[in-house]
Symmetry: none
Subunit: 200 residues, 4 copies
């Protein structure tokens, strides 16, 4: 990679980092492109060299951050000896929830802007960005003898939506109850959702 190439990537990364910081601090609508570039120490025109507009960088950031979180949880799982699928899944869920509880800005950012469509298309569009793919990771965990690949996909969808939306409300607003209070219910519900797909 040439010096010029490196410089380009550095500029892009700087914009990503600065934009994320401002998005979670001030909110997206209150963050202007002027804010981003001036904080990043980059010229305004340069922004438009890499991103179409504010929502372009937001979409890319949302997927980036969500993926990072998932893969981080998977890496943590690999450090353990857990082999049972449900236990593995619970580990990941607990890991992610704990991370979001510690980083409510991130939760706010991801939850408000991540849709399944964005998420999915992002993985398909640029598989080179991460040598490990979150979907593959999940499907590899699922015991294929009891849950079909097709069902696994639908299950993943339901779990993601269910956990995402309830976590948003409980963690950020403690509405209608706090995440700590909700936790046992969440665990039970996740088990209930999974068990449908066993022994079908």
């Amino acid at each position: 990679m040439g010096k010029l190439e490196t410089n380009k990537q550095q500029k892009k990364d700087k914009l990503y980092n600065t934009a994320f910081e401002l998005f979670i601090t001030k909110g997206i609508s209150k963050t202007t492109i002027s804010d981003i570039v001036s904080k990043a120490g980059i010229a305004k025109g340069t922004f438009y060299l890499y991103f179409k507009d504010k929502y372009d960088i937001r979409n890319k950031l949302v997927v980036k951050k969500a993926s990072e979180l998932f893969l981080e949880s998977h890496n943590a799982l690999l450090q353990t000896d857990i082999t049972d699928f449900e236990e593995q899944l619970m580990f990941i869920i607990d890991y992610i929830i704990a991370a979001l509880q510690k980083n409510t800005s991130l939760l706010n950012f991801i939850a408000k802007n991540l849709s399944w469509g964005v998420f999915r298309s992002a993985f398909n569009q640029s598989p080179k960005d991460s040598d490990e793919n979150f979907f593959d990771m999940f499907y590899a965990l699922v015991p294929s003898d009891v849950i079909s690949r097709h069902d696994a996909e639908i299950l993943l969808f339901q779990l993601t939506e269910f956990i995402g939306s309830t976590a948003y409300s409980t963690i950020l607003y403690s509405e209608p109850l706090s995440m700590d209070e909700f936790m046992p219910h969440l665990h039970n519900s996740v088990h209930a959702l999974i068990h449908q797909y066993y022994n079908r």
Copy 2:
């Protein structure tokens, strides 16, 4: 109610209706207050006599529309002979999903802007707006001998979030599958979520 009083309410209603129409047509951020008042045939300053800003009218509208939908489904239920709790719940869910499938603009509007907190507080703030309260309606259905009031609330929360977020993705974007394909899974999952709270 005097003539002047009536005139005031008419103005307010006109603003509500016009704003809703524009919100679902052009989207909220693309709708300006100028758009609303000019389409409503009302002076710009008058808007500020009734609403604080665009987000004030949006919040009120979201709750209004969501409540109308819930109560409409309940009224439909009353026309039936269904007495079993789970069947009643399924009827309401199917009714609401069918309505949202027919009116995707409404789904988009509600899903993007309705949070549990807004919803809940709205009911508490102005119980007079609807002589029937959605929460009371729901709790009345729940068989109190098998599910406690406290659990009922948590269950309602989970169902609302689960159905809301999966319906959004499947109806509007058919991602990762269409609502028609998802329907049996949805039914099973709802049953699974409910059954946890039986015979505890």
Copy 3:
């Protein structure tokens, strides 16, 4: 006319005057709307209340200024005893050329931006703006027994284009000769153009 109405017209006039001043001083493309409003002491948004954009005010100004000049020449004609059509026409031409020689900025402004289409449509659009219409003024001068109304219109078109384009080059750039040198040729040519339409 109420106070508010008067205030509106004052603002509009102020914008007209300031824009014209800047257009002829700095040129149109170098004049920004910011320049106009800041010099006029009016808020930027107010500009857009009265004009669509820079080119809207330019078009209106061009017609305004050209009309004023024509009508001014006609008023001057009325102060004389000249009765012969050709002499009257020559008087008007000489008057206008003299005015443009004294005010080369005006010549530059009008010549670069006035097209027959703009001119004509402007008169038809808002005939109320001037109780006297330049076209009617011209046609009234033409001796209708020797030149038909239809021919008069074509003649006026040719004279306007011929004088306009040659005056532009000779007055502003003395190319290929100065207006003073060109004057006798211009007179002869105008007579030649007119005489075609006599005794047809």
Copy 4:
């Protein structure tokens, strides 16, 4: 001319052709240097090696295109047997008008940007560009025994301006009449303008 030299000329020509195409398609002010170079497949910086700015290439193009048209008409004249000056002139005028009617973009481009000064100076600056000069061509046609060289120049000026400005309005906008309707008037007027200079 070495290979490198040829490559340079090719780049320049490519820029000329691309710029012209964009100028007549999108208009000059809407055409950016980015547009030109990206369409030409040449680097942005390279543009500045050959031209000062957008207006530099425009001026050169306008003269180039106008000259081509004039010389083309002269070449067509040489294919005929016409010997009489007025007939020759009419042939050229008709030829040019026909060409502009077929190519209104060219008319628009030339008329809006060609001034006598630009035209004249261009011929004097770079006579090498065309081995035949339009001015010389015209003066050679004029019968020098009846019209002096000095008068010929003034006549050419008047004809050019007269025809140019009336053609613009009639061809492009049919205002106040179409070119077809105007044609006989144009012919008569041209004759009238020429005859002044006979037998002086």
